[in-house]
Amino acid sequence: MTREAGFTFVAVMLMTLLVLSLGVYLCVLMANQSHLTSSVDSQLYSLVLAENGVEYARSVLPHLDLNRVLAGLDGKHSGASTLEWRNPLTFDLARQMEPDAWSPSCDDGWPAHEETLLLPQGYPSAGGGRFYIRFSNNPLEPAAEDKDGIVLVRSMGITGANRNGFFHSARNNVSLVEAALRQERVFDLQAALVLFGESATFEWPGEGFEFNGNLNPAVGIVGYGELAQNLLNSLAAGQGVCFQGAGGSPSMREMTNEYLASPVYRRVFDTGFWEHFQDQLPAFVDTRLPGLRFYPNGGDISGSFEGFLVARGDFTLTEVQVEGVILHLGGGRLTLAADTSVRGAIWMSNNAGDGSGNLVHGPLDLRIVGSVSVAYDAGAVRRSLTLLPPTQLGWRILFPEMKL
């Protein structure tokens, strides 16, 4: 071999090396870009999962016994001493954990149904991601004792780390979202017929009707005025026995102070509460059964209904079987006619704001005709309340550097 041939060989080798180096460089560049993009995607996916967790919490919240959830299945709250006690997992743990092998060591705040945790290992989603949710009481109340129905839910979305390949990573992508939600129990009525106002007109021709509160009163009175006296004056002799339940005959209880003292019930004295409720109601009605129905201009209905029935104006129920809650918001007469039965409770009010923040009550108007039965059923009332969506009081993303 000549010396020139050796030079050519070296030159060819150098050229080959150069081309290979360029190829490898391009491959690394592309892989790096791909890794960066998938990492951003994974982070965003963990955020989406965390958002989904809050939506999951919204859907289960109306069905939960909050104090039982806060204390956990063991009935004992483990305390609020650690820094991230409201989180389903600490950030450090979430970044390192293997989702398949992890389970919570404390059941406080984990949603449960019939003595079983609903999501002990998170909610698995496509792509290997999961979300975990945990409820905790709002900071204005003791950690394990809820009275106002307001809870915080923290949802942690976790997408798995890439533990294989060239860009090995030992850390999961983690996002944490918190929402302040209120379980709506303001219409958790405690009597077969609850009247809110100052005066009313009642008509009950005949004795074929019955208001039965069972262990609760048949009639609850909320508000300062002459409601109770109007009711007593409207009854003919012998009609008092048509109001059965706790207390005397007719079974009736003044509930104004109970409502004023309760963080849940006292909102009915706020004019803004009623304005907001009636403004938003049309957007929340649905046609399913059980469902939430609204008759803004009253009307006549018959048949059967299960759920939450809201009406204004002249509203007549004839041969109707209702299981749930009837809300009559005034503006006319509520008539329960022949063979109508209600298992649950009825709320009647007729109010509006006076423009300066005060609630002005109009007269209530109730007419009962023929064979009508209204039987208080706490279970039916509670079931209809689960149709009301929780109110979202706040929503935020939490970062590890925040005051958790």
């Binding site: 870009q33 993009t37 951003v40 995607d41 982070q43 965003l44 955020l47 958002e51 809050v54 409201r86 900071p139 106002d148 307001i150 915080l152 918190e178 929402a179 302040a180 209120r182 709506e184 303001v186 963080p263 909102r267 706020d270 803004g272 509460f273 907001h276 409720f277 938003q280 109601l281 957007a283 929340f284 009301l388 969506p389 109110t391 979202q392 009081l393 706040g394 929503w395 935020r396 993303i397 939490l398 970062f399 925040m402 005051k403 958790l404």
Partner: protein
């Protein structure tokens, strides 16, 4: 002197005359590839912006665009600047009355061909290049619609230019969702 010395001189002369031709031929073959690479690089930069901007803006805006208390100041447009502020870092997770943390206040603006971000009390920093236009639609209080168009920041040589490439995406602002009951506790 051996006879083959003259041959080497002739070879060298031939090599010198052919060499430039080969170099020119090589460059002639490589130049189109180089200009095509130039174009692809410019288009890749443009598409990177269009690909990365939505998820990153989603993350930044979702953090700062969900005020817990005063909605009127949360999302607002001031000229060509989109301001997002959320008071979400107080004791026990409730508002503390200021928005001095970097994640509590984010502003976004287009400046030249840059999309710039300012967080907290800092100054605007470029986040994305090649931005031709940026517009935030605040008409729907629950939905923030962002329209972004990106263009190659260098003149294309071989690939015919198709103008700015637009992308529009919506961000749902969770704290602006309607509630059946009022939010006053």
């Amino acid at each position: 002197m051996p006879k083959n010395k003259g041959a080497t001189l002739i070879e060298a002369l031939i090599a010198l005359s052919i060499g430039p031709l080969l170099v020119v031929a090589f460059l002639g073959a490589v130049a189109p590839v180089q200009s095509l690479t130039w174009d692809l690089s410019a288009l890749h930069d443009r598409d990177s912006t269009l690909c990365l901007a939505p998820p990153l803006l989603c993350k930044w805006i979702s953090g700062a665009g969900n005020n817990r208390v005063d909605r009127s100041t949360c999302v607002r447009a001031d000229g060509n600047i989109l301001h997002l502020q959320s008071d979400m870092d107080g004791s026990n997770g409730f508002p503390d009355g200021d928005v001095d943390e970097s994640y509590e206040s984010v502003s976004i603006r287009q400046n030249g061909s840059d999309l710039q971000i300012r967080s907290g009390a800092g100054s605007f920093q470029p986040a994305f290049r090649n931005v031709h236009s940026f517009h935030a639609d605040l008409a729907d209080s629950r939905l923030l619609r962002l329209a972004l168009a990106a263009d190659a920041d260098k003149a294309l040589i071989r690939v015919p230019s198709t103008g700015p490439k637009p992308i529009t995406f919506d961000l749902y602002l969770w704290n602006f969702r309607p509630n059946l009951f009022g939010e006053v506790p």
